[in-house]
Symmetry: C2
Subunit: 141 residues, 2 copies
C-alpha cells in the first residue's frame, strides 16, 4: 500500500536517468564521492563548483530517495552523517566515465591525468572505483 510508483514522463530508460540525474549538481556530488572519496555534507560543500547549502541538502535527499546513496550517522561524531554510494550509485561509474571522455575529447578541460587513465583503460578505472567502494559502508575511509 506504500508502493507508489515514481510516475515518470515516459517509460524510456534514458528518461528515467534524466529524471534522476538531469540537473546541474547530482552528478557532481557523485563524482566527488567516486573520485575524491567525499562522504560528508561539509566535504561536499568544498566541491569546486560551489554548491549552495539548500541545493546540496535537497540533492542528497533525492539521491537517498532514489537509492543511489545512503546516509548513516557517524559512530565517532554524533553531528555527522556519512554518505555512501550504493551498488546503484557505484554502477554510475561507466556513465561518469563516458561523460568525462566526451567532454575531454570536445572541450578544453582540466584533470588531464584522469582523462589519460580513462583513455588508456576505461574498465580499469571503473574497476578501481568498485574496489575502493567495496568495503566502505559505515567505515569512514
Amino acid at each position: 500500500m506504500s508502493g507508489q510508483k515514481p510516475k515518470r514522463r515516459s517509460e524510456c530508460p534514458l528518461n528515467a536517468s534524466v529524471e534522476m540525474l538531469g540537473d546541474r549538481w547530482s552528478l557532481l556530488i557523485i563524482r566527488d564521492m567516486m573520485l575524491r572519496g567525499f562522504r560528508s555534507y561539509k566535504e561536499f560543500m568544498e566541491c569546486y563548483e560551489g554548491i549552495a547549502t539548500n541545493i546540496l541538502a535537497d540533492r542528497l535527499r533525492k539521491l537517498v530517495a532514489y537509492g543511489i546513496i545512503t546516509a548513516e550517522p557517524d559512530q565517532s561524531d554524533g553531528r555527522k552523517l556519512i554518505y555512501s554510494l550504493t551498488a546503484k550509485g557505484i554502477d554510475l561509474a561507466p556513465v561518469l566515465t563516458e561523460m568525462v571522455l566526451w567532454a575531454a575529447a570536445h572541450e578544453d578541460t582540466g584533470n588531464q591525468a584522469l582523462v589519460r587513465l580513462m583513455r588508456e583503460d576505461k574498465e580499469k578505472v571503473i574497476a578501481g572505483v568498485r574496489e575502493r567502494w567495496a568495503n566502505r559502508h559505515a567505515s569512514p575511509g
Copy 2:
C-alpha cells in the same frame, strides 16, 4: 577578438558535460535524433515526454551553440529546418548507452528490445548509430 570562452564553473570535464547536457530535455532531443531519426522541430514535438515549444526552441539553439547539432534549411520546403548531429553529437552515443543500461538495470523501464541489444553488444549499437549518421548531413532520411 570574438573568442570569448564559455566561462565554466570549473575545469572539470564532468562539469563541462553537466553544464551542456545537465537538464531535463537536452539528452532526450539527442536520443530522438540518434534512435528515432528525428530531424525537424515538428518531429521533436512528438517526443514521448511532451516538451514545450519554447523549451524546445531554447534547447535546439543551445545544442547548436555547443556544436552538438547543426541546423540547415530544407531544400524542398522553405519552412523547414533540418537538424543534424555533428561528430560531437554522435560521440554522445556511448554516454546515452551507459545511461540507458544503468536505468534499465536499476529501474522498471520500457524499450527492452533496445536494452537487450545494448547488453548483448554495446559497441555494435554505437557503431550502428555512427553508420546511420555518417552520410546524413543535408539529406533528409
